[in-house]
Point group: C2
Chain length 106, copies 2
Amino acid sequence: MDIQLKRGILEVCVLKAIKKEDSYGYKIIKDMKPYIEMSESTLYTILKRLEHQEMLIVRTEEFNSRLRKYYHITSKGLERLNEFVEDWRELMLIYQFVTKEDVSND
Amino acid sequence: MDIQLKRGILEVCVLKAIKKEDSYGYKIIKDMKPYIEMSESTLYTILKRLEHQEMLIVRTEEFNSRLRKYYHITSKGLERLNEFVEDWRELMLIYQFVTKEDVSND
DNA sequence: CACAATACATCATATCACGAAGTATATAAA
DNA sequence: TTTATATACTTCGTGATATGATGTATTGTG
């Protein structure tokens, strides 16, 4: 799929992936794989960005003497998801502009 | 609206704007305004890109001793519009992932 | 012991939308 | 006449962002 088209939705996908329950990078990628694929470098960039925007908070936990960074969505992150629905509505109107049939007026 | 979300659709909006009949930069912006706004620098960048990708062809015409560059969509451009519909279907599935209700299994 | 899987980090690069600023003409308003 | 606005296109620099490549480190698995 066109990369540009993915850009607007990648971030909210990550938020959604941690909405139900806290999750960590490696798992997020696997959970999203059936819907949308993203490289590790992309995900960790997004996670850092979302953290910086206070849409999620991080805690580090040890699992099998290996570190895991668990991400938890904040109210700001939930708000972002709601705003996305609004934006999508607007995008649907644009989509209709792109796909509407031109009626010829000969 | 979120800029990132617009990215995937800007190009096809321009293609759509010249699909029915050949048009020129200034008019394209005005025609699209009710649906989506874009700055002149953005439009002319996109037009140049689409020309380079052979999705449209250009001819220069004089109008009131002022030059106009008319853009005409090619078969490649029309193809691009069809592919966009396919991409959009895929995007809808991702959208559903983002907005679906998580059923709690307590 | 080698290799895949798990888990995260960093860097350089390419693409792209956009504001700012510029060039030039025609027309309407002061 | 001067000024402002609309038309029409161009160029440049910047910031945001997705991604491949590469690296580090540990835990299974064959």
